[in-house]
């Protein structure tokens, strides 16, 4: 069969080819930090997995909104959309950006790409500026902003109803660049929701406020926006676990994971290994622990595949109430 046949959208072959979407959690199914609204912080993740914020002078809140079953505004029965509410702002240095870091700067380098997403705003005429940046990792070349056609962001203008928007551009080549380890480099998607006049790279976006609602964000190679690739929850959750894992409190006795400390070399050194659901991007930070039984870990050694906890007695264990967070986000 000639290649042209399987690259055609109209014959419905392409939509059946998987793993097109470079964005993880593009339909916002995974939010390990819990549902509900959250105030977003600069250079930090709010509640939805894999989506990060960059903020200066713009109070921004993120909220997980549910679609009504059977709605037809966004096809394919997505469960959620993301609402970002921006407070009024007017400073030339103010900005609010929704971002995703796509691991490995080789991703889409030198290739034509198409970003597609559904969006609406509470303010008719609000715009979103789409920008791609390249970060070359630890020890690599300096970061390149607006690493795309024309070296500037592309604008789309929203209405108060959901519609699908597409942006096609070519990502800069990485020829001549020095690359750090692939797990520390990334292609960065910026969705500027507000950007004061200091940021010409935002293509004159300007200060904006109101609700910005997004659904089904997809980045793929080529100049065509194919239908959104809706992957099952468990697959997306698995992808998210490479970057962030919250051991959830379990509900029933059957969910208990009872681990006795499994090694000791003295009466005051007991060790327990806890394996993650998958290998993480880098060695993660450990935080937000609660519910350890009899003793909290005295020493914590985080690896990429597992963490070793050390206790001074042999009776410490995890049960259904024990939670903690392992963060390897980029």
């Amino acid at each position: 069969m000639p290649l042209s046949k399987i690259q055609t959208v109209d014959n419905q072959v392409i939509p059946n080819l998987g793993r097109r979407n470079k964005i993880i959690n593009g339909d916002f199914q995974v939010f390990q930090k819990g549902s509900g609204g959250a105030t977003a912080a600069d250079n930090a993740y709010a509640k939805t997995d894999r989506f990060k914020y960059f903020i200066s002078g713009v109070t921004t809140t993120q909220d997980q909104q549910s679609f009504t079953h059977g709605q037809t505004d966004v096809p394919g029965e997505p469960t959620y959309f993301m609402r970002n509410t921006l407070a009024s702002n007017s400073g030339s240095s103010n900005y609010s950006i929704l971002a995703q870091h796509i691991e490995d700067v080789k991703t889409c380098a030198g290739q034509e790409v198409t970003l597609s997403f559904y969006a609406k705003s509470s303010v008719n005429g609000n715009k979103v500026a789409i920008e791609f940046n390249q970060s070359f990792g630890t020890g690599g070349s300096n970061r390149v902003t607006s690493a795309q056609t024309g070296d500037t962001a592309q604008l789309v203008t929203l209405t108060t109803s959901f519609a699908r928007y597409t942006v096609t551009t070519t990502i800069d080549s990485i020829a001549g660049k020095t690359l750090g380890p692939s797990n520390t480099s990334f292609l960065e998607l910026y969705m500027w929701m507000s950007g004061g006049s200091d940021y010409s790279r935002a293509n004159g976006l300007g200060n904006q406020s109101g609700d910005f609602d997004f659904a089904d964000i997809q980045l793929e190679t080529g100049d065509v926006a194919t239908p959104f690739e809706r992957r099952p929850f468990h697959e997306q959750e698995h992808d998210c676990h490479r970057y962030y894992y919250k051991r959830p409190a379990q509900g029933t006795q059957e969910d208990d994971l009872i681990l006795s400390s499994d090694y000791n070399n003295s009466t005051s050194n007991f060790w327990m290994e806890y394996y993650y659901p998958r290998k993480m991007r880098v060695r993660p930070s450990y935080s937000s622990a609660s519910g350890w039984v009899t003793q909290t870990p005295q020493t914590i050694n985080e690896g990429e595949r597992h963490v070793a906890f050390q206790f001074t007695n042999g009776s410490a264990y995890l049960d259904r109430s024990t939670t903690f967070v392992l963060d390897a986000n980029n």
Binding site: T39, V282, R283, S287, D327
Partner: protein, 65 residues
């Protein structure tokens, strides 16, 4: 990240070797609450990167408890 304080992790309980990892108190700018993070010495870890930037600004990592 709004780092409040950093100290080294305790020496390895078996080998006695000093740890390069740290324990940091970081203020969550959204909730204004302090959180404790156990952070490995991994240059790709965002928290570790923030600690190194904090040190470059003249701050000092305290000894382990």
């Amino acid at each position: 990240m709004n780092i409040q304080s950093v100290k080294y992790k305790p020496n390895h309980p078996i080998t006695g070797e000093p740890s390069k990892g740290v324990i940091a108190i970081i203020r969550n700018s959204a909730t204004d609450e302090d959180e404790e993070f156990s952070i490995p010495a991994d240059e790709g870890n965002l928290h570790y990167q923030a600690v190194m930037e904090w040190v470059e600004k003249g701050n000092k990592i305290a000894d382990a408890d």
